[in-house]
Chain length 167, copies 2
């Protein structure tokens, strides 16, 4: 974004900016997941992260389609929010030695990531509809539904015994 | 946190660390809200942010009580996640001139903040219960319920016409 001018003049500009924000975020998440897969101890958590890596790749493909449908350049803009969330996940994981406590920390970190994506996709779906882009809204809704399902699975994993054993 | 040792050994350590993370986050949000109140144009949004500032002050008081009940020092730890979320909110708001588009951007930014708090309080409630701290869980649940209600109100505001007028 420009430093000397106001670059967001319309709701359409705000929509495209936020699309580029989540596009950057999905790429950062794709880069972070292999390390989380390596660190996870519980086989269910490891498998969950592997599934989410495949889904993240699909989300990026859907976002490419939204860029094409909306007729704007496919690119990311740096998103300090996801950078901060992932930096914090990394910091905390680096402080934990016990494998079960580490699994609990990884689940919490992954849920912070999911909630960031849920809020951004929720906003983008609403804005796409307001802009009359039902086609884009449908693709963004598909990503939103998968993020919400992942968050639910992580809550189940947290309650299913991983954290309980660590406590 | 220490740079040369693993400081989180147990679930209790992880719980206290995350408590200090959200304690820092609530203080940063308290500092950020007056600027959001000033920037908001819609009277409903301005009033919503004012209510949330009062709630944030109550959340800090409840967290102080959790620290006391759990018998640990009341302090914050730097939380790069909330710093990133608030930095991004500020960056985007600085790029928007049109007042209605700015309101839409402010609602989206506030929802990103709420979702961060929702995920952290959700995790903390679960961990408090697992650690047998029902007393702490009840206070954290009260904060969680208010954050979830604020997020819901922001969605209603977004759909009630603010964004629609801007589009």
């Amino acid at each position: 974004m420009g430093w000397f001018s106001k670059d967001i003049a319309t709701m359409d500009d705000l929509f495209v900016h936020t699309l580029r924000d989540i596009y950057y975020a999905e790429h950062q998440i794709k880069k972070a997941l292999p390390d989380m897969i390596t660190k996870a101890t519980s086989p269910e958590l490891k498998a969950g992260f592997q599934t989410h890596l495949r889904e993240t790749e699909e989300h990026i493909q859907r976002l490419k389609q939204v860029f094409r449908q909306h007729g704007v350049e496919e690119k990311g803009v740096t998103c300090p929010a996801i950078d901060g969330i992932l930096e914090e996940a990394n910091d905390v994981a680096g402080e934990v030695d016990d494998k079960r406590v580490l699994d609990a920390a990884l689940i919490a970190a992954a849920q912070a990531v999911e909630h960031y994506e849920i809020t951004r996709y929720g906003t983008l779906v609403a804005w796409a509809k307001q802009l009359g882009r039902e086609d884009c809204a449908a693709l963004l809704q598909a990503n939103l539904d998968e993020e919400a399902a992942t968050d639910k699975k992580l809550t189940e994993l947290a309650n299913s015994g991983i954290n309980r054993k660590a406590a």
